[in-house]
C-alpha cells in the first residue's frame, strides 16, 4: 500500500487537473488548487472510494487542505 499522501495527491491531480508540485499538505483545495465546492464533494467521493471509508457530511466541511484530507483518512483506514 503506497503512502496515503501519495495516493491523495494522485486523486487530486486527476480530479482538479493541477500540477503535482502544487499538491502539498498545506495547499487549500479552494484557494490554492482552484477547486469549487462541487469539486470538493467529488474529491471526497473519490477519497471514499480509494480508501474504502465513509467521510460523513460534517467532516467533509472541515476538510479544507490536502493535509486535512490526509489526516482524516489516516485516522479512519
Amino acid at each position: 500500500m503506497s503512502d496515503v499522501l501519495e495516493r491523495v495527491k494522485k486523486i487530486v491531480v486527476e480530479n482538479l487537473d493541477v500540477d503535482g508540485d502544487k499538491v502539498v499538505e498545506s495547499a487549500s483545495f479552494i484557494d490554492d488548487l482552484g477547486a469549487d465546492s462541487l469539486d470538493l464533494v467529488e474529491l471526497v467521493m473519490a477519497f471514499e472510494e480509494e480508501f474504502n471509508i465513509e467521510i460523513p457530511d460534517d467532516v467533509q466541511e472541515s476538510i479544507r487542505t490536502v493535509g486535512d484530507a490526509v489526516t482524516h483518512i489516516k485516522a479512519h483506514i
Binding site: L38, V41, E42, M45
Partner: protein, 245 residues
C-alpha cells in the same frame, strides 16, 4: 430522435394515470424502467404493458427510510440510474382556515420531502458518471395557485425552486434538472364531473380538451433525451394553453 436505449429510469407514482403513461413512453423509447408506487398489483399491471425490461420497486413515499433506500433498490434491479421522474404526489385539499398540521406536513413530506431525498440519493452516482436527468412532475397550480390547495401548491412551487437550484449546482457535470407542469389532465376524477362543470373547465383551455397522460409523457421523454442536454432549470408547461407563463 429521443432514443433512450441503454438508459435506466425510475418513475414514482407509476400506478397513477400520468406515471403510467410516462413509464410506457420511456420504455417505448428504449429505457429500462423501474416502477414505484404503493399499489403493487397495479404496478404489476403497468409492468405487463411495457415492451422493454422493467422492475417493480414498491415504496411508500411518506416513509423516509424507505425513500432513502429506493434509489439503491432500483439500481440493484436495473443498474445505475440515468433518469429520475419524481411523479408521485398526494392532495389534502382544504381551505387554509380548515387545514391542520397533518394536512400540511403530509403533503409537503410526500410531494417535496421525497423529491429532496430521491434526488439526493441519485445525484451522487450521476455526478460520477457525468450524466443524469432529474425530472420533477409539478403542476400548473404550483405557479398560478389554486384555492383549497395551499399545501399542494406550496409543495409544487417548492419543487420548482428546488429544481432550479439543483440545476445550477450540477449543470457542469452533465446533469439536467427540470420540471414539467401539467394542466388539467383527464383522470377518473375528471371523468365523473357533471357535464356543466366539464364545459366550464374546457372553456379555460384554448386547446378545447383535457390533457392526456401521453401529453405529459412526451415531455418527459424529451427532457430525458440526449437532445435536451442544454435545457436545465426549466419548467415545461403542458396545459393546452390554459396558462401561458
Amino acid at each position: 430522435m429521443f432514443d433512450l436505449t441503454g438508459r435506466t429510469a425510475l418513475v414514482t407514482g407509476a400506478s397513477g394515470g400520468i406515471g403510467r403513461a410516462i413509464a410506457q413512453a420511456l420504455s417505448e423509447a428504449g429505457a429500462k424502467v423501474a416502477l414505484s408506487g404503493t399499489r403493487e398489483n397495479v404496478l404489476e399491471e403497468v409492468a405487463a404493458t411495457l415492451k422493454g425490461e422493467s422492475a417493480i420497486v414498491p415504496c411508500n413515499l411518506s416513509d423516509e427510510e424507505a425513500v432513502n433506500g429506493l434509489v439503491s433498490k432500483t439500481e440493484e434491479a436495473i443498474g445505475p440510474l440515468d433518469i429520475l421522474v419524481a411523479n408521485a404526489g398526494i392532495t389534502r385539499d382544504k381551505l387554509l382556515m380548515q387545514m391542520n398540521d397533518d394536512d400540511w406536513n403530509d403533503v409537503l413530506s410526500v410531494n417535496l420531502g421525497s423529491y429532496f431525498r430521491l434526488t439526493k440519493s441519485c445525484v451522487r452516482g450521476m455526478m460520477k458518471r457525468r450524466h443524469g436527468r432529474i425530472i420533477g412532475i409539478t403542476s400548473i397550480v404550483g405557479v398560478t395557485g389554486n384555492p383549497g390547495q395551499t399545501n399542494y401548491c406550496a409543495s409544487k412551487a417548492g419543487m420548482i425552486g428546488f429544481t432550479k437550484s439543483l440545476a445550477q449546482e450540477v449543470a457542469s457535470r452533465g446533469i439536467t434538472a427540470n420540471t414539467i407542469a401539467p394542466g388539467f389532465i383527464a383522470s377518473p376524477m375528471t371523468d365523473v364531473l357533471p357535464d356543466n362543470q366539464k364545459e366550464a373547465l374546457l372553456r379555460q383551455i384554448p386547446s378545447g380538451r383535457l390533457g392526456e397522460g401521453a401529453d405529459i409523457a412526451a415531455a418527459a421523454v424529451y427532457l430525458a433525451s440526449n437532445e435536451a442536454a442544454y435545457v436545465t432549470g426549466q419548467t415545461l408547461h403542458v396545459n393546452g394553453g390554459m396558462a401561458m407563463i
